[in-house]
Symmetry: C2
Subunit: 324 residues, 2 copies
């Protein structure tokens, strides 16, 4: 076990700058828009992506502070933009226990709020003043959106192979975490091997984070999740714990319905969720997440030894043991 | 009158490269998405923005071809992305006589298609390899989206002053045309005065283009427009010909209804449209567009004399005399 590190304290000053950048208002910015953006930014995101960016940069200690803050803010704004559009697409009314933009505004206003966040994220990325980082930012957005489109066209009843599941969570979560850490290495002037290694660290971290998210959707309480449990299953989304469960109980009626592309009612969702909870599937999925994050963390060897690297090691364990 | 120039022939080879870049497929790109994008790109856009970029760059003859193509493609992709989201927001089913993505796909798939086009546009902008251009690209997107949000929150019954009208068409159309020409000057290594001047040329050109668009919505036939006439009025949007008409006939019942934020029925729209057609308002608005574009074209003095500059002079007259 890695030693507990107060990673927030290590980067508190930098994070304050990142928060300020994300909240910056452009000339003539609509007041309602500003309020909506602050509402989204205030609704309790963990700021994991910028935390990784700041810790990698602080570990090297070579990048210019303004560039680092811009990168960290760009990554979190991009993430926030995708959340706003996702909530519209999934018709979600709650996120982290707070009403979504989608719940408060028309679809048109929600689309434009997401677009505005994309635009601001692109401005922040441009402010890193580094073409390689900007290119990586744009490519990452392409991969994320393409992954979502692919998922949408597959629709209900498409049973993913493990490989397809990993490809999906890579596009959904892995690549942006990988960009957060890889671009931090680029700004720090790291060599190509280190950039590749730290990209892999972030990508593995992100995928493990997503697996834990998928597990929490099964084992979490509505209070912990800020939304009802079993949402993925209810939407017909087959995640890793479900894939593992299918190996143990291939004929579970909820599973059969899912495989046939049927829409599960509340009772069927609850039945399937509790069956998965009682199986070994959750343990299996968490084991996969631990292996992923531990494989990725090998790449932390590229970083100078010190408190920031130890914080990243600690965080790697923390995210697979988190309860929310 | 400027001499007629076959401007398309001057840049045909470059434009073929630009078209190819816009249609480039990323690894793993969903096939349905590719078809949708080709459908949008094929539906008869005039490619005015990349035409201006290519003519400015060809006039200087100093920028690297790959950078120029990337810029031209980035500008048109950004424009295309905004159209896809606009059609969703306005619930438009037809554009240029062809079904919109919105008419063919779910709102979610339409949002993601627009997002994908934004991402690809950002990648193309990054490929210009020029931080100033990339920054200008991102700032332009911010201004466009902020303008749309402002417009949305104003809603029906908000009667714009002339200044507000111009601010709206500047955000909607002016800034992207300005970016298309200003960034072309940047890539060509022009000095700051020339960059400013050519940005102003594009911005004025774009605003004049938008005024003519607004006029055509009143005077055009459904066949010319690819959609019914009077759409702006039907949506409660007050454009320049309407503002001029209000000076002549402040008490026209259609106008009063518009001012009160009422939704006009088909008959009222047709009545107002035909009253505006018979008034001097159309001539006034076109006069404003001519003055704008002519003011802007003064800045073409920054370009070396030659066929490309003459083509830009010719285009400036063409767009205020166009019928579709």
């Amino acid at each position: 076990m890695a030693e507990a590190v107060d990673y927030r304290a290590l980067i508190a000053d930098d994070m304050a700058h990142v928060e300020a950048l994300m909240r910056e208002v452009v000339p003539g910015q609509s007041r309602a828009l500003t309020e909506a953006i602050h509402h989204v930014l205030d609704s309790g995101g963990k700021r994991l992506r910028p935390t990784l960016t700041l810790l990698v940069c602080a570990s090297y200690g070579t990048a210019r502070a303004e560039q680092v803050w811009s990168l960290a803010a760009a990554v979190e704004m991009l993430h926030t933009a995708t959340l706003v559009h996702d909530d519209l697409i999934d018709e979600s009314l709650l996120r982290r226990g707070m009403p979504t933009i989608n719940a408060m505004w028309s679809p048109g206003a929600t689309v434009l709020t997401g677009d505005f966040l994309f635009a601001r994220a692109a401005e922040l990325a441009a402010n890193t003043d580094n073409i390689r980082v900007i290119t990586s930012f744009a490519q990452t957005l392409t991969v994320i959106v393409n992954g979502e489109i692919e998922q949408m066209f597959k629709g209900r009843g498409a049973w993913p192979s493990l490989e397809e599941y990993y490809a999906r969570i890579n596009a959904k979560t892995g690549v942006l975490f990988g960009m957060a850490t890889g671009s931090a290495a680029i700004l720090s002037g790291a060599d190509d091997d280190a950039v590749r290694g730290l990209t892999e660290f972030g990508r593995h971290f992100g995928m493990a984070f997503q697996i834990v998210d998928d597990v929490l959707d099964i084992v979490g309480t509505a209070e912990q999740l800020g939304k009802p449990a079993g949402q993925d299953v209810a939407m017909g989304l087959v995640t890793l714990p479900v894939i593992h469960f299918a190996r143990y109980h291939p004929d579970h009626p909820g599973l059969v319905a899912l495989r046939n592309g049927e829409r599960l009612n509340g009772e069927s969702v609850a039945g399937l969720v509790s069956a998965i909870r009682e199986s070994e599937a959750v343990r299996d999925a968490l084991g996969d997440a631990r292996r992923l994050v531990s494989d990725g963390a090998d790449n932390l060897r590229f970083l100078p030894n010190g408190p920031h690297r130890r914080a990243l090691e600690y965080l790697s364990e923390l995210i697979v043991n988190r309860k929310f």
